[in-house]
Subunit: 336 residues, 2 copies
C-alpha cells in the first residue's frame, strides 16, 4: 500500500478538484491509501470510506499569503499538517496544489534537508519537440550560489534517470552563449564544478535551444527558472490571442485558426506540468509534490500517481546517496 497525504484545501479549484481527484485516484490505483487533510465540513461525508483516513483542520494558507508568516502563525494549516504526517511516518508522500512558497518553506522546516543539500529545488517539466526535460530550479531559490546550481544538476540527473528511466542523462547549464566563457559570474563558476564532476555534463545551453529537446536537465537559479517557465506560459497564451485577432478579417483565416488552435492547445497542454502530475521539491527528507495552482481533478490524480512512483523507487534514498557523494567534492570558497 502506498500512503499519500493530499491537501484537500490547496488549489484554485479546491476542494472540488481535490476531492474529485482523490476519487479518481482511489478508483484507478488499488494499492493507494489516501490521507485527506482539510476542513471537517468538507470531509465529513468521506468518513468510513475504504483506503482513506481523514485529518481535520480548519486552517488554510491562502494562495497569496506570505510563506514565512503562514509558517509562523498557521502551523495548523492543511499544508503544514499534511507535511507533518509525512514527517511522523504516517504517510510516505505529500501532494498539494496550494501556496507553493508555503509548501517549500514547510517542507524544509518540518522535514529538513537531506544531509549535504544546501537548497532544495523544484524540478519542473519542460515540453520539447522530443521528450520532456527537467528544468531545475523552477523557483524555490533566488540568489543561488555556484555549488547550489551544481547540486540542482545532481538532483535533476538522479530524478530523470530513476523516475523517467533515462540512462546517463545529459545535464546543461542555462546561459547566454554556448561557449564556456559565456555567462554571468554564477554560471561561469558553476560551469567549473560541472566540468569536474561525474555527471554527463554537456556545457552551456541557450534558452532558444531548450525546446528542441537535445538535453535532459537544464540547470539554473530559481529566479531565472521561474521567469522562463512563466514567459513560455505567457507567450503561448498571447499567440492564441493573436491568432484570434488575425482571423477577424478573413473567413479562410477563421477556418485555419479553428484548426490550428487545436494544435496550439495541444502544445499548451504539453507545456503544462499539471498534465504530468506536478513538480517535485527535491532535496528534502520526504516526497513532496507541488501541483499547479490551477490543477483540476485529473491533474490531482496525476500528482498522486507521481507521488506513488516516488515511493516505489525510493527517490529520497537515491537522492540522498547521490548528494552525499557531492559533499566529498571540495567546497572551495569561490563556489559558495
Amino acid at each position: 500500500m502506498y500512503k499519500v497525504v493530499l491537501d484537500v484545501m490547496g488549489g484554485d479549484f479546491a476542494p472540488n478538484s481535490t476531492l474529485k481527484g482523490a476519487e479518481l485516484a482511489l478508483k484507478k490505483f488499488p494499492d493507494l491509501y489516501l490521507i485527506l487533510v482539510g476542513k471537517e465540513s468538507i470531509l465529513k461525508s468521506w468518513e468510513g470510506k475504504e483506503r482513506v483516513s481523514l485529518y481535520y483542520t480548519e486552517e488554510i494558507v491562502r494562495m497569496e499569503e506570505s510563506p514565512k508568516v503562514a509558517l509562523k502563525e498557521k502551523r495548523g494549516a492543511s499544508i503544514f499538517k499534511g507535511i507533518e504526517l509525512v514527517k511522523n511516518g504516517n504517510a510516505q508522500a505529500f501532494v498539494s496544489a496550494g501556496n507553493s512558497g508555503a509548501i517549500v518553506a514547510g517542507a524544509i522546516f518540518i522535514l529538513g534537508r537531506l544531509e549535504g543539500v544546501r537548497r532544495p529545488a523544484i524540478a519542473s517539466l519542460m515540453p520539447t519537440l522530443k521528450d520532456p526535460i527537467v528544468l531545475i530550479d523552477a523557483g524555490a531559490n533566488v540568489d543561488s550560489k555556484p555549488f547550489d546550481l551544481f547540486q540542482f544538476g545532481v538532483m535533476g540527473s538522479v530524478f530523470v534517470e530513476k523516475i523517467w528511466g533515462r540512462k546517463n542523462p545529459k545535464v546543461s547549464l542555462l546561459s547566454i552563449g554556448e561557449e564556456s566563457g559565456k555567462g554571468n559570474t554564477l554560471v561561469k563558476k558553476a560551469h567549473e564544478l560541472f566540468l569536474n564532476s561525474k555527471l554527463h555534463y554537456t556545457g552551456n545551453i541557450e534558452s532558444k535551444d531548450i525546446f528542441w529537446g537535445e538535453t535532459d536537465v537544464v540547470v539554473c537559479d530559481g529566479f531565472i527558472g521561474n521567469i522562463c517557465l512563466k514567459l513560455s506560459e505567457g507567450l503561448v497564451e498571447v499567440i492564441l490571442e493573436m491568432l484570434k485577432t488575425e482571423v477577424k478579417n478573413s473567413f479562410l483565416y477563421l477556418i485555419g485558426m479553428r484548426l490550428a488552435k487545436g494544435a496550439l492547445e495541444n502544445f499548451k497542454k504539453k507545456a503544462d506540468w499539471r498534465e504530468h502530475g506536478g513538480a517535485p521539491l527535491l532535496g528534502v527528507k520526504g516526497n513532496i509534490i507541488i501541483a499547479h495552482g490551477r490543477s483540476d481533478a485529473i491533474a490531482i490524480k496525476n500528482a498522486i500517481k507521481i507521488a506513488m512512483s516516488f515511493i516505489k523507487i525510493n527517490l529520497v534514498e537515491r537522492l540522498n546517496k547521490a548528494i552525499s557523494e557531492t559533499i566529498k567534492m571540495e567546497e572551495k570558497d569561490e563556489f559558495n
Copy 2:
C-alpha cells in the same frame, strides 16, 4: 543631412544585405549621407556615388570572436573604425549587424560612457498584443547592480518617451511575483530605488504578463533579458515546428496549418526586432544601433532609419540630461 556610418561587413548575410540596405536607404531618405566601412574590393564600385563616402579596411571581427580579443588585436576592423568615425565627428551615428559584443565593447572603449552612466545597456523591442515595449538590458551586462537596473529604467523611459513619443512611460521591474517583496536581492533593492524616483514606476511585472503590453519599459539584468529574448524566439520557432508535426495525420489540419502559419509568421515578424531597425546601445557618447545578425536589406534600411531618428531628436543629449539627474540621487552602498 544626417551622417550615418554603416558597417558593410557586419551580419550573417553581409555584404549583400548591407549594400542592398544602403541602396534602399539612400533612395528612400534624401537627407541621408552614408559612410560605408568595409573591404576595398567590395566597396570599389561605389566610388563617386552621391551622398556616400567610403572608408576602406581589410579587417573584420567574426560573429563568434571574443569582443575583448578583437578590441585588442583588430582595432582596424570595420566595427571599430566605424565607431571611431562617430567619435571624431565625421558621422553622427553607427549601424552594424556584426558581432554585438564587439560593438558594445568598442562603443564603450572608443566613445566612452555618458557622464554618470555606469553600464550602457541594450534596449530591445518586445512585441505585445498592443504596442511594442522596450526590454532593457537585452544583453550588454551580466551581474548588474541595483543602481545599474535603475539607470536602465531611466534610459529606457527616455527612449520610449522621446523616440516613440509616449508620454510618461510606465516602467516595470521584471520579477517572479507582482508583490513588492518578491524577487531576488538585486530586484528587491532596485525596487526601492525606483520607488523613490520620479519615473512612472508601476512595480514588479511577471514574465507571463510582458506580452499583454500593459507597460512600456521592462527592466532587468542583461543575463536575464537575453535569456528572455532568446526563449521567446526559440519557443515561436518550436511552435511552428510542432504545427508541422501535428498536421501530418490530418488533411483538415494541413489546411488549417497553412493558414495559421501565416499568423504565426506574422507574429514572428513582430517579435523580430530587425523589423524595427535594430536595438540601440544606450548610455554611450554617440548613437549606436545594433542590428540583428540575420538582418536582410530591409532590416539594414530600417536600422539606418532608426539611426536618423536618434540624430534628429538628439537622443544622446536627452539621455545625458536624464542620467545626470540620477547622479544626484544618493548612491547608497547597498545599491552598488
